[in-house]
Symmetry: C2
Subunit: 194 residues, 2 copies
Amino acid sequence: MPKIVDHDERRREVLSAATAVIVRDGIDAATSRAIAKEAGYSNGVLAHYFADKDEILLSALRDSHRRIRARITERVGDARGLAALREVLMDNLPLDEERAQETRLEISFWSRSLAVERLAEVQRAEAAELRAAVRRLLEEARAAGEIRADEGLDDLTERLLALVDGLSLRSLLYPGRLGRAELERIMTTTLEAL
Amino acid sequence: MPKIVDHDERRREVLSAATAVIVRDGIDAATSRAIAKEAGYSNGVLAHYFADKDEILLSALRDSHRRIRARITERVGDARGLAALREVLMDNLPLDEERAQETRLEISFWSRSLAVERLAEVQRAEAAELRAAVRRLLEEARAAGEIRADEGLDDLTERLLALVDGLSLRSLLYPGRLGRAELERIMTTTLEAL
């Protein structure tokens, strides 16, 4: 009797292995060979599911974003405007181990996206979704009179997302300077000043 | 008669080649072999000046920071407080091709620093200097009554530097969204709100 292979399960295992290697050893180290070894499969099995290393990496990034979106949707619940915005931005900061690992994955992709156009395109498409969500919540907040600043909403969106990226990066690079309490406090002060 | 070799000049050429490779092809591609080829020297010549690839990369980063510091010192001139702070922060944004290349170099190091502790240490030491300069200027600005916000100066320093890092990153990843005019406008609005 032929062995029954659960392809979805295998695919998930390979992605999970890829994420583990990137987060632990950096994206340079995430070769097909290293990912196969981590997953406990041969290079041949990997080739069956993914065309090349970049496809594995892209799938790992998309997969991470899908999990983040599900978590944020749950977290925001019925909140609207500024309250919902606060949940979205806070959830994007590396305030626990799970999110610290997500941040490491993002940072690894930033530098590779600058060198590989195919990755940059995906990075841009994925970023557009978060940007649209933040802008929509800022519109709600302004309509509800929750924002005093007269800065344009496009600029405000970019400023908040740049702050999230910069704080996330710096808390991983300089953990002694920027702990979780500092991250939360700086973001809270920023939102209160809107 | 033995050929006279200008060692400083050769070292500079190797660093300049390393920077060119990183900025053009990404840090993954910056192998000793690729850097030697770019510089027009053999791998043996490279080994004479630098112990390994990471030492070349670190030297390129330090060299870039040295040039940035010299340029900022010149640019700040006799300015103090908020005016000087504005010059420092604006100079750290990728507002022209030279600074866009410096930003690419920084972003390449961010992800590698997360995987290689030796690089992280240098990254932290180099970042401490800019952080101290920004904090000192914020103190001057507060003493001169130029800052209304009652946010702590440590938080304010991190918030401004995180914004600079995030805006720099996003302008390279999403140039269609965040052009030079947007960068300058967002930074100006942020400083005016202090």
